[in-house]
């Protein structure tokens, strides 16, 4: 019964949507990369960079949106690096991705230590505040859940809509999907496969970084080590779960976040107190693995995912 109570409470859904927000940004970012044919395992590190860059910008006295912009740019920079190494040079996407994650993470921690040498408790910033949308926010349950969020959350939902339109309704979306399915189709029509793929990885990485920035600028309000904590890897699983479609991936992210919010609340019930807390913390990862298994046979993987394209290869 307790669980049912939780499920119909507005605060639960508000939390779920908040937890989903960074995942939505990063999942859409990964989805763009993979739709263009590039698996981006740099996601975990790029989220760390974004979290730090956004937070540091605001901490240094600039505006919140400037922080989001700086986070995005820093992500794109690592995306550019990833793109150059994996697309024209065709290096292993696995190795480069993990290398980017390590590089991005260690550079961030290094910078953090340089910027704040002796801090023990990380300073907080004045973060994004919930912005209730008039009228809509007064709808029971749905209202507070969907319409009393921070602007970044609204942005995440707008992003999914825009991405769906771009992917399926615009020339650049066509080119992107074709690059992930059969790069020579793109090449034969006089478009640059490298350009499209590098561009996709850059934009995708920028979004991953905004997802990271959400953590510092709209959730925890400060930066600390290990804060991304495998969220990037979970987003990769969410892309598979969403069958490489933005709307389904969004649904996956929300479901996942709802489950996460639920386990936090169950932990606080008498029932949850008897179970080691680690069991609850494990759930998101186990759930991701389960999602992968369930979806494994159904999804249409982009045919050229992880296939390098070397023009005029003989």
């Amino acid at each position: 019964m307790e669980i049912l109570d939780i499920l119909i409470s507005a605060s639960f859904w508000t939390a779920a949507i908040r937890i989903a927000s960074p995942l939505i940004f990063a999942t859409m970012g990964e989805l763009i990369c993979e739709r263009a044919g590039v698996l981006n395992l740099g996601i975990e590190g790029i989220m760390v960079v974004g979290a730090f860059a956004g937070w540091m910008t605001v901490y240094s006295g600039y505006g919140l949106w400037t922080g989001v912009g700086v986070a995005m740019l820093s992500g794109m920079l690592f995306g550019l690096m990833h793109g150059i190494l994996t697309v024209p040079f065709g290096l292993s996407q696995h190795v480069v991705g993990l290398g980017i994650t390590l590089l991005a993470t260690s550079l961030t921690y290094f910078s953090y230590r340089l910027a704040l040498p002796e801090v023990t408790s990380p300073p907080k910033i004045e973060a994004f505040q919930p912005l209730p949308i008039p009228i809509l926010s007064e709808i029971p349950v749905i209202g507070p859940a969907l319409f009393t969020q921070t602007p970044l959350t609204y942005l995440a939902f707008v992003l999914v809509l825009v991405l769906s339109l771009v992917l399926y309704r615009t020339p650049v979306g066509l080119a992107l999907r074709a690059a992930g399915e059969n790069p020579s189709a793109v090449d034969a029509q006089g478009l640059s496969v490298s350009g499209i793929r590098i561009g996709a990885v850059m934009v995708g990485s920028g979004l991953m970084a905004v997802g990271g920035a959400f953590l510092t600028m709209s959730a925890f309000n400060s930066f600390f080590f290990e804060m991304v904590n495998g969220r990037g890897w979970i987003c990769i699983a969410l892309v598979v779960f969403g069958a490489w479609k933005p709307s389904k991936a969004l649904l996956g992210a929300i479901l996942f976040a709802a489950f996460d919010a639920l386990q936090i609340r169950i932990q606080q019930t008498p029932l949850g107190a008897n179970v080691p807390y680690q069991v609850f913390l494990m759930m998101p990862y186990l759930l991701s693995i389960l999602a992968l298994v369930v979806m494994s046979r159904r999804a249409e993987v982009p045919a050229a995912l992880m296939v390098a394209f070397n023009k005029g290869e003989r």
Partner: protein, 349 residues
């Protein structure tokens, strides 16, 4: 631009490009150290000095290299067969847990019997951890990169749970750590008085064994064939899935030995910070060694040297310790690029 294969790369090209990659890495590190207020020209010297400048430093490097050889071998074996095992970290902890389970008094056997038993059981535990992702890959086609990555988190939480539960040291004053191993379960030192244990010897032997398996045995042939061209291997009649499962067992077992060796050789008990990412670093070690098991020993020493040296340098010069990870990530990315460029030339079109 596009890439054109070079039929016979020159020796100069083969040597100079990787060397250039390392030089750039040092340059990057020096630059970052300068940002942190250190003298950039002293960086390389301080690192080398910190890694091998004294007997103590050199032994520290060897000790640090030991788990990296194991995880490097684990990754090398798996990647060779194109099984993307990113979960050596989890397998390492599985080995460590088994070591503590059996070595804290559960088996009161003499050393000569107890240590091999623990080692073998630890290998089984590690193998088991990788078996599930390998099974999901071969049975359902689930990408093992993500599953092994996610398992790292799951296993670490499991260890944390055990350390606060059944494995908790009753004398530990509430800290989440295990009881200490009984003396019979400790790996002895190679030379009395020097802080280097037989785990290092085991690592070297393991490298030799893996090399033998890859070059001399039927399984090694199968693993290489599956890794190079799964379709052709299948066509020829190589049981691809069986080979992948066997590879997973070997790889997981090797990674688990890292946990065994760290607990039984160095630490004596299990804590949550047993491994500062040895499993992930194993990927770098294996890649820098071109997945060659003998090369893994060399590259593990190199990577350990960077860690130990950069640690000491950062203390001496007041540079954040994360510089070691930056150096390794830079070296990894530049090295895979350099190796590719030794075999292909860029043609501008």
């Amino acid at each position: 631009m596009r890439l054109e294969p070079i039929a016979n790369p020159t020796v100069t090209r083969t040597l100079s490009l990787p060397l250039l990659a390392l030089t750039v890495t040092v340059f990057v590190a020096s630059f970052l150290a300068m940002l942190a207020g250190a003298n950039p020209f002293s960086v390389l010297g301080l690192i080398i000095d910190g890694a091998v400048g004294s007997k103590f430093a050199a032994l520290e490097t060897l000790n640090r290299a030991t788990p990296l050889i194991f995880t490097g071998l684990a990754v090398a074996v798996a990647f060779r067969a194109r099984l993307w095992n990113i979960g050596a970290e989890a397998q390492l902890y599985a080995g460590a847990v088994l070591t503590v389970l059996l070595g804290t008094g559960a088996l009161a056997w003499p050393s000569g019997l107890l240590l091999p038993t623990i080692a073998i059981c630890a290998m089984f535990a590690g193998a088991l951890v990788l078996l599930l992702p390998a099974y999901l890959k071969t049975r359902f086609g689930v990408d093992e990169v993500v599953t092994t990555l996610l398992f790292n988190f799951v296993v670490l939480l499991l260890v944390s749970m055990l350390l606060e539960g059944v494995l908790k040291d009753p004398m530990g004053m509430g800290w989440p750590k295990s009881a200490r191993l009984i003396p019979e379960a400790r790996l002895p030192r190679i030379v009395e008085g020097l802080r280097l244990h037989w785990g290092f010897g085991l690592a070297i032997v393991s490298a030799a064994v893996v090399w033998m398996i890859q070059t001399r045995t039927t399984l090694g042939y199968e693993m290489r064939a599956v890794g190079l061209n799964q379709k052709a291997a299948q066509f020829a009649g190589i049981p691809v899935n069986t080979v992948l499962i066997k590879t997973a067992l070997l790889s997981g077992g090797l990674a688990a030995l890292a946990g065994f060796s760290e607990v039984a050789g160095l630490k004596g008990n299990l804590t949550l910070d047993l491994s500062p990412g040895f499993g992930y670093t194993g990927i770098i070690v294996a890649m820098l060694a071109f997945l060659n098991p003998i090369g893994v020993v060399v590259s593990a020493l190199f990577v350990a040297g960077i860690f130990v040296g950069a640690d000491s340098m950062s203390r001496a010069a007041g540079v954040p310790t994360y510089i070691a990870d930056i150096m390794l990530a830079t070296a990894l990315l530049l090295m895979v690029l350099a190796i590719m460029l030794t075999r292909f030339r860029i043609v501008r079109e």
